[in-house]
Subunit: 416 residues, 2 copies
């Protein structure tokens, strides 16, 4: 038993079927109406009707003949992934990135904003407004903006309640800043959850319905897809792995808890340790990501103290994996962000802890891997947050309720 | 964004609509067709058709006239909760309980089996077979059996992989033992998840879509309903709170992990501490529940050492709540089972820890309460596991696909 009350209202069934067809084309590429009908259990008449509207609205297109079952030729339908672009904005603590991606998650543009400090957050917000507005003006294929922000992010309120080490982010209300700021809809999600969506949508070779994205960056976060749905919590503040304690006698955290995982293996904490252990020259002047990368390079060259420190980070990160497995039982844990650059050496230490601390039946059925997405999973995931809405609720973007008199015109004025 | 791919196949829509009508009647009591139509957004024609089949199959019945909107009289429809009975079987470590419940969760029969030891498990299993068979033979209203077993329970395999302190339970394959053992369908779920279902279904005054049931009994477990759906994990082994570490330098656990919450506040551990501290006379001879109850009574009479111990238990249980909030962000945490008998004194200590260790926005939006169900939430929850199937998938129990020639005859031979 998985779902308690699954049934959608009758009114949502049409949108659901549209969405299922879009998901099918997204996952499977060019397909004939007969193939879609067979795969989804919808009648040929329903497929004909729904695809006619999607064709009219310019969301999908017909291709030439393709080979169908029993060598019969039939017309193919395609969701052209290059036709729709999505902006992804990643807000980390000191790093804000803006990218443009197509529907397949291919990165078209990616720019870092100047390093953010506690004092330059208002400037950064203004810059995000200007850059996103300019990108939308320059690219008519852009249909939505997705944003990824550090958790715990209260989705109905629009604030991230706790950004350890950079308090001023708490003053930003992302909803009131951005929800109606542009000519296309804006969608906002907790960062690691965006990373989970990116892996779910774009890593098609290994996509599975029970997936955890374990973000170890300036903060430590987690996004979990359980049976195809994100675990959100009442206010969107679930899966806050960074603030789950691994030691009730441990280091105090700004959240009020003690021994929070984030206090042991975030890039911020690692950077502090690199400075205090004097492992990297002038480490204090580096950004968190640069300092971590310098450490990982040093370990690769054979420096014993650097290797010990990477192993130590791996052990703490490994205890995070143990909690993920006992807490969410995913099929696959994907580790990403700054600290994942520690590579195989880090992964080895993580797996040693998991092997020792997880009961065999669960250990052996959980894959742990480093993120293999081409770009950062969270900035790509920010776009994925918008793409999921595009696939799930096409009527937010296009007039699909009836044959449209003006095909190809996205409803760009229609905000969330 | 909550669900990634929500749409059911067309073939499931009829069952979904039947289920929605049953859920509506279950939640709202007697309703007219017009009221159901309005509440669910289904057309009057669809309501007429579906309810005709449910009436034919004997699942619902018509009542006399009721007062509808605008003082119009109309015929009421009712899901008579007393007409359908469900057996619930709770397997704890040393305690096995069998109850019969009606659709509203009202307990009709409840019996404990003799205390189980590691050596008497096969005898206990035989006894469960015999008792359940006898109950079904004696009560023609029984339509299904639900079972609740300690986690981590691998639902596809049928085994519970880890029952600390009573290893022999791991030898039992619940699916092969019971799935086809009786003349009615059998459904099996992890114990705390069953408790969450019981609270979701039967505590109607406070039922909410984001609910956690925190079981502190012979083991420590958790069941989470997130946006109306259970968090399961790939194999059904998610939300294993008892094996999430609160101290990576802490006490070793049979699962391989260290510092597992279960090692600090389960009834088994409390019983050991009562014996070693010599708090209760002849404590070694008592069962775990009896020993805990003796401690709680002693605390109520003012014994200072007993009070200190209850507060200590409350602090550990409180750290479990902190993890639940950061991990799942439920609206409501319901604490149940043996240790919940510690009452307000225990709850006070739990809340102190939560107040100190959870960020205010989350702390203030989370209710923490002791279970108020009339009977044990898990044995009642075992029945709820079956009841959810009855409401979600009526076609498993009745012939509802067309007007039936033999109404009122449940498909009792139809196993899961």
């Amino acid at each position: 038993m998985r779902t308690i009350q699954t049934a959608p209202s009758q009114a949502k069934v049409s949108e659901s079927n549209r969405s299922r067809i879009l998901h099918h084309l997204f996952r499977n590429g060019i397909s004939s109406r007969a193939q879609i009908s067979k795969a989804l259990g919808l009648t040929p008449a329903a497929i004909t009707k729904i695809t006619a509207r999607l064709l009219d609205a310019g969301i999908i297109e017909e291709t030439g003949d393709i080979e169908g079952d029993k060598n019969r030729r039939s017309i193919g339908l395609r969701l052209d992934e290059s036709l729709f672009h999505f902006i992804g904005v990643k807000f980390a603590r000191s790093l804000v990135q803006i990218g443009v991606f197509d529907l397949a998650g291919t990165c078209i543009v990616l720019r870092d904003l100047p390093t953010v400090t506690n004092d330059t957050i208002p400037t950064t917000i203004r810059l995000v407004h200007a850059r996103v507005t300019a990108l939308i003006a320059a690219d008519s294929r852009i249909v939505a903006v997705g944003m990824a922000v550090p958790g715990p992010y209260l989705r109905t309120i629009g604030r991230t309640v706790l950004v350890s080490s950079m308090r001023a982010w708490r003053e930003v209300n992302f909803l009131s800043e951005f929800k109606h700021a542009f000519s296309v809809p804006v969608f906002i999600e907790q960062d690691a959850r965006a990373g989970a969506l990116a892996n779910y949508l774009f890593d098609r070779g290994s996509s599975c319905a029970n997936l955890a994205y374990y973000l170890i960056g300036e903060g430590v976060g987690l996004g979990v897809i359980d049976n195809g749905a994100l675990v959100n919590g009442m206010m969107g503040a679930a899966t806050e792995l960074g603030h789950i304690s691994i030691d009730i006698h441990g280091r105090p955290c700004e959240c009020g808890n003690v021994g929070c995982l984030e206090r042991y293996c975030s890039a911020v904490v690692i950077h502090e340790a690199i400075v205090s252990r004097d492992l990297v020259p002038d480490a204090r002047q580096l950004g968190h990501a640069e300092a971590c990368n310098a450490l990982f390079q040093l370990a690769d060259t054979g420096d014993a103290r650097a290797r010990l420190m990477v192993e130590e980070i791996g052990r703490y990160a490994g205890f995070g994996c143990v909690t993920i497995i006992n807490g969410y039982n995913p099929e696959r844990i994907v580790i990403g962000d700054i600290v994942a650059q520690g590579g195989q050496r880090l992964l080895h230490s993580i797996r040693e802890i998991v092997d020792e601390h997880v009961t065999p039946a669960l250990r052996d059925s959980t894959t742990i891997a480093l993120s293999t997405l081409h770009s950062d999973a969270v900035v790509c995931g920010a776009a994925a947050v918008a793409i999921i809405y595009f696939l799930d609720r096409p009527s937010m973007f296009f007039d699909v309720s009836a044959a449209s008199s003006s095909p190809d015109v996205p409803k760009r004025q229609h905000n969330q």
